[in-house]
Amino acid sequence: MEPILECRAISKWYGAKLALDRLDLTIPRGRIIRLLGPNGSGKSTLIKLCNGLLTPTGGELLIGGKAVGLETKKIVSYLPERTYLNSWMRVHELIAFFKDFYADFNESRAYDMLSRLSINPKDRLKTMSKGTKEKVQLILVMSRDSQLYLLDEPIGGVDPATRDYILNTILSNYNENATIIISTHLIADIEQILDDVIFVNQGHIVLTASVDEIREQKGMSVDALFREEFKC
């Protein structure tokens, strides 16, 4: 099967600043991948290129074999770092909104997750705590039957018990041919749900390995390796 994501010598300049430097990357289907790197390493830039919010300065980027555009947006579900949702909206309105926008949105799954996390669909986003807002956004994004999920800094403000529930939901709900890319440096204990880790630094990919390869070869967790590699 063709890979879900292919970057061929992708570069991105912001004015005179180079954010990604001729990056090559191939990501197969059916993987859960963590994108890891210090602040300003290019993680969010890469994710925004994948969903078409940014266009590369050079190189080629393919999602499921197609150039990023209308067709690829149908199969990519994106959780941004900062919310774009209107805070005056109620949760059930947001769900209707997503249903209108995305043909692959599974409404009953969304309501099911809301009730299990005791979130009232009638609540407005602006009345919610940071963690609850994050839950709502993640539920919306994960309720789509997409082929590629791009999660930029999810569930940082969510409490540990809910985090477990959410990780479990991700594991049991996602389609085995779908790929999830999670960009985060906050969470150490998601390692066990990952297939691979991609270390990004200064616009380059410095390491791609599976979690167990890292543990086998270095005798330490991904988190410990990160602290060692990027010690300040």
Binding site: G30, R31, I32, D164, L167, N168, L171, S172, E176, E191, Q192, I193, L194, D195, V211, D212, R215, E216, G219, M220, S221, D223, A224
Partner: protein, 122 residues
Amino acid sequence: MTWEFKKDRPIYAQLIEQIELNIISGLWGPGERLPSVRDLAAQAAVNPNTMQRALSELERDGLLYTVRTSGRFITEDGNMIQKLKDSLAMVEIREFFEKMSKLGFDRSQTIRMLENAARGEK
């Protein structure tokens, strides 16, 4: 049952150990059918591919076997389970001797203390 993982060792290896423990403790009986890879992975909160790898290795060792279309089962070979039990016990014993020797007790002293402790004396 809760699954716990240490940070410094491969997850699939730790899964293998926990499944072996489940089998020798009888929590999972001989001939019993295992849940699907997906369900097991969700239960342990691990990546399904990692769970698959652990199960494949256990299958290669003969502790599990797959029946086409009906699933994966635990071996009915009691000898094999007993052997596994013995070998895990040996690992524990060796570790115990090592710890005792770090505390300055040789084998015979250790065994004597062990016997006393088993009789409930100090």
